[in-house]
Structures are given as C-alpha cells and as structure tokens.
C-alpha cells in the first residue's frame, strides 16, 4: 500500500515520526502473518472432509492409515474444530458446525461431495452421521429418502441433527422445518409418554372429568375456563395429564391436528418460564401452535425473532397484539386450544410470598386472559396442575383434587 494523496502521506509520516528504524523493523515483524502449523494440508483436508460427513466418531478413525506420529500431529491441529466428549469410556469427536459448514461448502464448490462420501463411508459413526451421509448422497431431492425414513420409523432427533449438519449443501429447508417441528413435539410427548409406561390405574373418573372439560363448548365472550388439578406431590397429577395430552400430541405429530383441538403444554419445572417472563410463555405458546399448524409456524417464528430484536433494542415489544394478526390470518381463533400448565407449584416457588403485590398467580392468570383477548385465542381453555388451588382473575376455576393414592394404585402413580 502506498499513500496516494498528500494528506495520506502526512498520515504515514506522522505515524512514523518518533519511531526508530529498529522499532519499525520490530513492528513489521510483529505484523507478519502468523506461521501455520507444519502439517500436510492435503492430509488435513481429507480428515476434515471425513469429519464433515460423519457424526460422532472415534478420533483415531479419522486419521487411520497415517503413521502414528503424523496421526497425533494432525489430530492435535484439528482438535479445536471438534466437540470432544467421553461417552461410555470412549472418546467421541464431533465436528463443530462452523468448520463443518466451511468444509461442506468447499466440497460442494469443488464438486467433491460424492468422492468424499465414498472416502468417508468406512469411518464408523453414529445414527445421525449415517443419516447425514444418506442425505448428502441423494443431493437436494430427498423425497423418496424421507418416505423411507418414515417407513423405517427413523429416530426423529437423528434426522433433525443430520438435516442441520447437511444444510450447507443447500436445499431440504422444508424437511428441516418439519424435522424441527417433530423433534419439538417429540420432546414434549416423550416426557409425558414415559409416565404412561405402567398405565393409568384408578383414575378413570378424573380422566373423564378432564376430557369433558376439554370437549365442553366455550363461550368466547365469557371468562377463560380453568380447571385446577390439585394434589400432593407424587399423587399422579402429571401421569393423569399424560393420559390426556399424549393422544393429542400423537395426532399433532402426524400432522392431523386439522380442525380438531390441540394441546399446548408448559411445564414450570423449566426455569425459562420464569414467573416474570410472560413474554417467553407467549413465545412458547406460539411455537407449539406452529407445531400443530405448521403453515402458521413459519410466520410465528419470524414474529418471535422480530419481537426478540425489539426487546433487545427497545426493551419492550407488543408481541401478543402482533401475534393476533397471525392468529386471525390463519383462522386459529375459533379452534380449541387446551393450555396445560404443569408443575404450577414452581411458579409459587419463584414468588413464595403469595398474596398482595407478590401474588404469583395473578400475573399468570392475567397472561392467560391476554391470550384469549389479546392474542385472540377464543377457544382457549386451561388445565393447571399443582399442589395447591388456583384462583382466577375472572370467572370460576373448576377444581379436580386427586386424593392420596392407596394400596395397589400407589405404586403405579408417578409424578
């Protein structure tokens, strides 16, 4: 770079003024480009390509066929590009998304994906890695492959992971969105389905009450119907809820929500649903509505992103009011939405001084009312599960108290 104008020349002279020649030489040395490690670049490229087309692998499989010393050197150089986890006594390395993206983009640009796949094929990897290779092998057209995945009942999480990894090769965005939807739903479903492993016994009457509450017609101008399921810890509240929600979640998982009712489940065990963060709760409601009605999902997702930016930059957002536009646009207002609030005692734990200014329930119930009147979910009804009773902001709360389990049923009840 040479200065081209007198002003620029003066800048350079001013910079150099007072610096001795030795100082300038030292500065030139300091600004020299860093020296790269002494390893064969082509070897590193091969190792990176193997890793980018794999999931978790044993590190020594990445450098097989290399002499011991060189293998160790190469692994030392590339280690920073990997998650390195000891699982079951074995080290497993998984390439990070940044280097993976760079490697896949390079392979695609060079038209070298197929050759790299063939080279990587014999490196043992996990299910997500194998799925990644299948996806990379079929290019952008994955319709037939996904139908096979469905037939084989492939693990949804592995598919989501593989789709996320393979995204830099382009295409498959719709499949990725669907995989995210299914993975999200599966996470909720699995957490409840596990409670049903031994079945629900001795709660038939309570389950019937719940089902009737869900199916009863609601007056869109009246207060939000609320049913409180109460009982001591371990009496089986969550198991009862599981029996209610799992069939709905299964239908939603298969994309069959259609005109029927949908459930939205919020477990206050999760710290993210802090009692002072109703906005996060609204985000979660729209996320799960998007799972039930995927056409609306993308719009809700964009709105959440926008709201987060508004909150970050301005400190506040009108999320619920803006979500109403989407609720109306997708005609969701008239659908029955069953909002299940589980482990409600954790809300009280966040605000233990119940009553008065610190009443933990009031903001929750006001938030529920905003869902109905602000977000426009006219078909909303709420099931609250917790150890104590709940009072509504308006209207009446029905109550379903679970008695202590006795005898043989006690052992079958979970949470």
């Amino acid at each position: 770079m040479t200065p081209v104008t007198p002003d620029e020349q003066r800048l350079v002279e001013a910079f150099l003024a007072g610096r001795s020649e030795a100082e300038t030489r030292a500065l030139v040395r300091r600004l020299s480009p860093p020296q790269l490690p002494q390893v064969a670049e082509d070897v590193v490229r091969v190792v990176r390509a193997r890793a980018a087309l794999s999931g978790a692998v044993a590190p020594r499989d990445l450098v097989r066929a290399l002499p011991g010393g060189e293998a160790e050197r190469v692994l030392d150089v590339v280690a920073i590009d990997f998650d390195r986890v000891l699982v079951g006594g074995q080290w497993r390395w998984t390439m990070r998304s940044g280097p993976r993206e760079q490697t896949l983009v390079r392979l695609a640009a060079e038209g070298a994906v197929r050759a790299a796949l063939a080279e990587a094929d014999s490196v043992p990897t996990d299910e997500a890695g194998r799925t990644l290779r299948e996806l990379a092998g079929v290019g952008r057209d994955g319709g037939r492959l996904f139908r096979r995945f469905a037939r084989e009942k492939r693990d949804d999480r592995a598919i989501l992971q593989a789709l996320t990894w393979v995204a830099p090769l382009g295409g498959r965005q719709a499949y990725l969105a669907e995989a995210r939807r299914r993975a999200g739903l599966m996470a909720v479903r699995d957490s409840y389905a596990a409670l049903l492993d031994v079945g629900v016994h001795g709660r038939e009457r309570e389950l019937e009450v719940l089902r009737e509450f869900v199916c009863a017609p609601a007056d869109p101008r009246g207060p939000v119907p609320v049913l409180a399921v109460t009982g001591a810890g371990g009496v089986g509240k969550s198991t009862l809820l599981a029996a209610l929600v799992v069939p709905y979640l299964d239908r939603q998982l298969d994309g069959e929500a259609g005109e029927g009712s949908v459930v939205v489940v919020i477990d206050f065990d999760r710290e993210v649903f802090r009692a002072d963060a109703e906005l996060e709760l609204s985000f979660e409601v729209t996320r799960q509505l998007g799972w039930a009605w995927p056409i609306a999902g993308a719009d809700f997702s964009a709105l959440r992103h926008q709201a987060r930016e508004e909150r970050r930059l301005a400190g506040e957002t009108e999320f619920e009011a803006e979500a109403r536009v989407l609720v109306d646009l997708h005609d969701l207002g008239r659908r029955t939405v069953v909002l299940v609030l589980d482990t409600f005692e954790d809300v009280r734990r966040d605000r233990p001084l119940s009553g008065g200014w610190n009443d933990p329930e009031r903001p929750m119930m006001e938030w529920v009312r905003r869902l109905r009147h602000g977000m426009g979910l006219a078909g909303l009804r709420v099931v609250v599960s917790g150890r104590g009773s709940v009072s509504a902001v308006d209207g009446v709360v029905e109550s379903l108290r679970l008695p202590e389990a006795t005898g043989g049923s006690a052992g079958r009840l979970g949470r």
Binding site: P3, L31, P33, V77, I80, D83, R84, R180, R270, R311
Partner: protein, 686 residues
C-alpha cells in the same frame, strides 16, 4: 466398552508404572499432562485415547523418550495421582535420585511439611526477579500481583522524577529497565549408572530422565511445580564447571555449596519480562536519611504509618505472570520474632548479579506502632535491595530495604548487636495501593496452540470480562459471559480467545460444546455430553428425563463444581444460532445460571445465545461490534500499549483502504494490518 488394551505394546516397566497411576481423575491428569505436552511440543492428547491405561502408558513412554519421565512422575506425585508402589517402580526405571528431602530442627525453625514448604519455596523463587538498569545490576524485585512487581524505590530512583507532585518515569526509562525472572543456577547430579541396561525400549541412550535441558534441578523435581518450568524453559542455559564458577562469591559465610569439583553448574539465564508502556505504576521514595545512609537503623523520623514514605516502586508488566495463583501476602505478622527467608540477587563486584540466592534470618524487631519498618538479620548485600522477605509459610511480609554491613557474629563480639540489622518495609503498609493499582487488563495480541497462531484484533471488552471472571472469588455475575454479535464481529473466535486467555493467565480448564451438535439428544443427554467433555460421568435417572430444575441442572452443576478441584472450570457453549431454538438447552442453561452463586468454580461463556438472562446477569451480556480503527491501531503498539492519535489516524486510513476492497468486519481489519505491514516493509526496503 473400550477395546481391551494390548499391553504387549508397552515396555513392561513403563506399563507397570502406568498401572500405578490413578486413572479415575482425568481432569487432574490433564492438569499435569497438558502443560508438559504444550511446553515440549508433544502431540499426544488424552482425549484421543480410547482407554485411560493406554493413554497413560503412551504418555509415560513419550516422556521417557524425551527425558521427561522424572519430571512427569514428580508432577503426578504432587498431584496425588499415584497409587502405592509408584515410587518403587519409578526407582526401578530411573535409579535413585541424587537428592533427598531431609527434615531438621533447630531452635529457630519449627518443622514444616517438607513438600509443601518446598513447593512454596519454588513457587516463591518463580516470583523473584533481578533488576538491571542500562545493563548494570541494581537490585531485586518480587511479583506481588500478576502485573505488578515491587522493589525498593531507591533501586530505580535514577529512572523517575517528580512531575506535578507525582512520581513519573523519565523518557526512555522503559528501554533501560530490565526485569529478569528465573535467573538462577542449578546443577545436575552425575549420571547414575543405568539400572536397566544402557538403552531404553526405543533406543534412548543414557540414564533415563536425565537428558538435556529437561533434566531439571533436583529441587525442581522435588517440588515439581511451575517454578521448575520457568527456570528450565526460560531463555538460555549455560553450563560452567565448578572450577570456573567463582568460589564463595557472597561476602558472608555461605557454606551451602555442596557441589564438588568437576560437577556442572548450570546457570539459567532467565526470562526478561516485557514492561508495560507506562511501567511505573507507583513510587514512594525513601526518606532523606535512608537515601544518604542511616546512622541508626532504628531511625524512623519522618515516616508515618499513613503516608510513609515507603521506599517502594511498583513496576507494571505488559503481560501478567502467574495469574493462576496470587503471591501470598503476610499482612499481619506476629509481634514476636519469627524466621524469615530472603530470596535475592546480590551484586558482584564486577557489577553483575548473583543468580538467585536464599538467605535465612529472623525478623526480630518492628519499628513504630503501627510498624513502619522491620529489622531482620538475614544476610544481604548491595543488590539485595527490594528483595522479598517471606515468613515460614512463604508469605511475603516485607521488602528488604538496606542495612549495615556488620555481620551479626562480629557485631555481637563488638558489643554493638543493635546495629547489626537490616531494614525492611512491611507489606501491610502499602497493601491498599496494590488493590488500587491492580486492575490493568492484559490484552492478548495473538492466540497460539497446535492449530497455529492467530492475531487478536479488538475484543477488548471480552478480555476485560474474562479478566474479571478469572479472579478468585469472582461474583456470579462476573462468571457469566453472554456474547452476541453479527457475522464479522469475531463471534466464532470467542471459544479460542477464551481458551488462550484462561490458559495464559490461570490454571483453569476450558471445555466447549457446539449446541448445534446436540440436536440428536435430549436435555439429559446433552448434560451428559457436557460432563463428558470433562471426562466426568453424570448420572441422570432415565425415569425422570424432563426434570431440569430439580434434577438435571443441579446434578450437572455439582459435577462441574467438583470436577476440577479448586481449579476454575470454564464451559463455552456456542452454536445457538444453528440449533434452531432448543427449549431443553435453554432450560438447562438457565438452571445453571440460576445456581452460579453456589458453583463457585464454574464459569459460563455462552456464545450467540438469544435468551435474556435473569435480572442479576443483565450486565453479563456483550454485544460485539466490528473492529474499529482504534482496534487496528492497538496492533501497532506493543502489548499493554495505548495507541496515540497518529496511530489511530493511520489505522483509519488503512481500514478505509480495506473497506474500499469491499471487505467488512474482521476481514477488513485483518486486511488493514496486512496493508500497513506491506507499506512499512516497502519503506524499510527502500
């Protein structure tokens, strides 16, 4: 399950030694192995081995081949990582060491734990430096904070002057002043007869563990602490025979040189510490009578406990040293006499300095109430000024100032014992000044590691946060760093920056995970992965996989808090932008954040996470900006330097040129630096 280890691959003696190493605490193993391998360019990593025994056997074999086996073994012993029988097997390999710690008792010194004292002693040696001005030896200094060295003000008095009522460094003084750590002599025992034949399994000739520079001092091996690394690795080493070394050079009876004729004395030249551009952090001159020579060592006229003067200069380094553990200070010494140890570089008649020496004495009188000067009888001479006085616990209690030249015994015989004392300045009098001055953040200009070096441009805000988080007892809000930024702001570089910063300035362990790689598992599985990065196991009951707050988060937190012992554990999570929103991960993180006040050794760095952290942590969020001209200009000045207006203007000019090439963010900054270098190079050639 791991494949069975093929034990036939290893030398049976080394394999037997490996069997006597504790394999169930891999993080502690890392604490020993990682510094050794990084220092000596060894590529063997623990996290590539399928089996701990296999790794250990290979590590011992590599160490043996490099002449580092004794060093590694001692580090393992000191890390409490060995099983019964280890030392016997080691001795069978290496033969008996030439040095054995011995304990003794006399009237002044109570017995102390030998290894603990030895370790502290070596640790203290690592903190003492020789001070030269214009190539001539002037005195001794001691590291009192990671970036601050204390010495007597009269040592550097010719480099300072009063300006506007405060002491400032004179122009050009930074180039004249030189601080050298690790200038010490050491010796090697004569090679023992090889106990197991002349060559090792890989043909290594000579006695095992005693090859080249790696055969560090017996003391170093006994302590097995970082002092050895510094002494051994710092600068060059020259060997002189005892015949060449000038007899007893210290003008007092030493009697401690046990080396016989013909044995090699090695002088480690030490490491010159780079000084901060504004090297004089603070200075308090001696009193006039101290400058001119005290007639009475008990004269404290003109000295107050509030204002001194203290005959103290605090010198600022460009980069911190020993950030892992602070110098221990004895701020409340007992009123009764107690033993003291002085580590110092006395001068020679030739104007050069002695390698590091150790004098023992008693601090037996405190002048003033509260005390403003101490008297001690440890032997010192000119050039010892500014040397640290440690108590028996190796806590720094004072800086040696000066004193009479009369030997105690001579003084006693002459009937003037009261004059046979040296003076020192108590630490407790200037402690507050240390706390006031300490917080100068050391900024990196380059990160290194096996993946190759990389320049650091900007990221000062991140480094300031890291510096705060490094502190012992840092509050929870300082131990959480949420880093966000647009592409080009260096977001993905964060992991590497954290790793290098922590490695350089502490003994913390850093692990990182890309959460976009955790989509194939649930929250419990992810928590197990987090523990797995630390080679730890996490027992998450499969019956209740969704209990985050009560189950997974506290269990993981307990593992993280306990896995590194007292060492800080840094977790870097990245990839949230690619993970597409994982409620379970958010919950887990919020659970950990909520309990951070309890997990005192845990540091969390969360990159590209969009969640709003709970209220006390709102200041833990950093939004990265693209590098500015000032960031580029920082690369033009040395470490610790501050760019001037001309530097910034020049950087702005270069950055503009880079942006004209349609580059933005880090690419533009990097290109600007390349352009500047090219231009300077061209002028140099011209």
């Amino acid at each position: 399950m791991a494949a069975p280890v093929d034990e036939g691959r290893w030398d049976p003696a080394l394999l037997a030694l490996a069997h006597a190493v504790k394999l169930d605490d891999p993080v502690l193993v890392d604490r020993v192995w990682e510094p050794l391998r990084l220092t000596h360019g060894i590529h063997l990593r623990r996290d590539t081995g399928a089996d701990p025994l296999e790794f250990t056997a290979e590590a011992l074999t590599v160490a043996e081949g490099r002449g580092l086996l004794r060093r590694l073994a001692i580090d393992l012993i000191n890390g409490d990582l060995v099983l019964p029988g280890f030392e016997e097997r080691l001795t069978a390999l290496l033969g008996a060491a030439a040095f054995n710690l011995q304990s003794f008792v006399n009237g002044d010194f109570t017995p102390k734990s030998a290894l603990v004292s030895a370790r502290r002693f070596l640790d203290s040696c690592d903190r003492v430096c020789r001070i030269d001005i214009g190539g001539e030896h002037r005195g001794t200094g001691v590291l009192v904070r990671p970036t601050l060295v204390a010495t007597a003000a009269h040592v550097v008095q010719e480099l300072v002057r009063v300006e506007g009522g405060v002491m400032v460094a004179v122009s050009g003084s930074r180039d004249a002043l030189r601080l050298t750590f690790g200038y010490a002599e050491d010796y090697l025992p004569p090679p023992a007869a090889a106990p197991r034949g002349a060559a090792g399994p890989r043909g290594a000739a000579g006695p095992r563990g005693a090859a080249g520079l790696q055969a560090v001092s017996p003391l170093g091996e006994a302590g097995g602490v970082r002092a050895v690394a510094s002494l051994g690795e710092a600068g060059g080493v020259r060997a002189v025979s005892l015949g060449e070394a000038s007899g007893p050079r210290f003008d007092c009876p030493t009697g401690d040189r046990q080396i016989g004729p013909g044995e090699d004395v090695r002088v480690f030249e030490g490491e010159v510490a780079e000084l901060h551009e504004r090297w004089l952090a603070w200075c308090s001159l001696p009193t006039a009578s101290e400058r001119l020579g005290l007639e009475d060592v008990r004269d404290i006229a003109g000295i107050t406990d509030v204002d001194g003067p203290w005959d103290l200069a605090l010198i600022r380094l460009a980069q911190p040293r020993r950030g892992d553990r602070r110098t221990r200070l004895g701020v409340q010494p007992p009123g009764e006499p107690f033993p003291v140890h002085v580590l110092h570089h006395p001068g020679r008649a030739s104007g050069t300095a002695e390698p590091l020496l150790w004098s023992i004495g008693r601090l037996d009188e405190q002048l003033g109430a509260p005390a403003v000067r101490y008297l001690h009888d440890a032997n010192t001479v000119a050039g010892s000024s500014g040397a640290p006085l440690f108590d028996d616990e190796w806590r720094l209690v004072a800086l040696h100032q000066g004193g009479g030249r009369t030997l105690q015994a001579v003084g006693d015989a002459a009937g003037v014992p009261e004059q046979a004392r040296n003076r020192a300045v108590p630490v407790c009098r200037w402690l507050a000044k240390l706390d006031e001055l300490e917080d100068v953040v050391p900024y990196l200009q380059e990160v290194g590691g096996p993946a190759g070096p990389r320049r650091v441009v900007g990221r000062r805000g991140t480094q300031e946060r890291l510096w705060r988080a490094l502190r012992e007892g840092a509050p929870a809000e300082d131990r959480l760093l949420v880093v966000r930024g647009e592409p080009g702001t260096g977001l993905r570089f964060t992991k590497r920056l954290v790793g290098e910063y922590v490695r350089r300035h502490s003994d913390g362990v850093v692990v990182s995970l890309d959460v976009a790689n955790a989509l194939g598992t649930d929250t419990a599985g992810f928590a197990e992965h987090v523990a797995g990065t630390l080679s730890a196991e996490l027992d998450v009951s499969p019956g209740a996989p969704d209990r985050v707050r009560d189950g997974i988060a506290p269990r993981l937190g307990a593992v993280l808090d306990g896995v590194g012992g007292s060492r800080a554990v840094w977790l870097v999570f990245e990839g949230f932008d690619r993970a597409g929103g994982r409620q379970g991960l958010d919950n887990l993180l919020l659970g950990l954040i909520g309990a951070l006040p309890e997990y005192r050794t845990v540091r969390l760095v969360v990159v590209s996470w969009q969640q709003v952290p709970p209220e006390p942590y709102t200041r833990s969020v950093e939004d990265l900006k693209p590098p500015t001209a000032e960031d580029v200009a920082c690369a033009l000045v040395g470490p610790g330097g501050t760019p001037g207006p001309d530097d910034v203007a020049f950087a702005e000019f270069a950055l503009g040129r880079a942006q004209a090439e349609h580059l933005t963010g880090y690419r533009a900054a990097s290109r600007a630096i390349d352009l500047i270098r090219a231009m300077l190079k061209a002028r140099e050639v011209a």
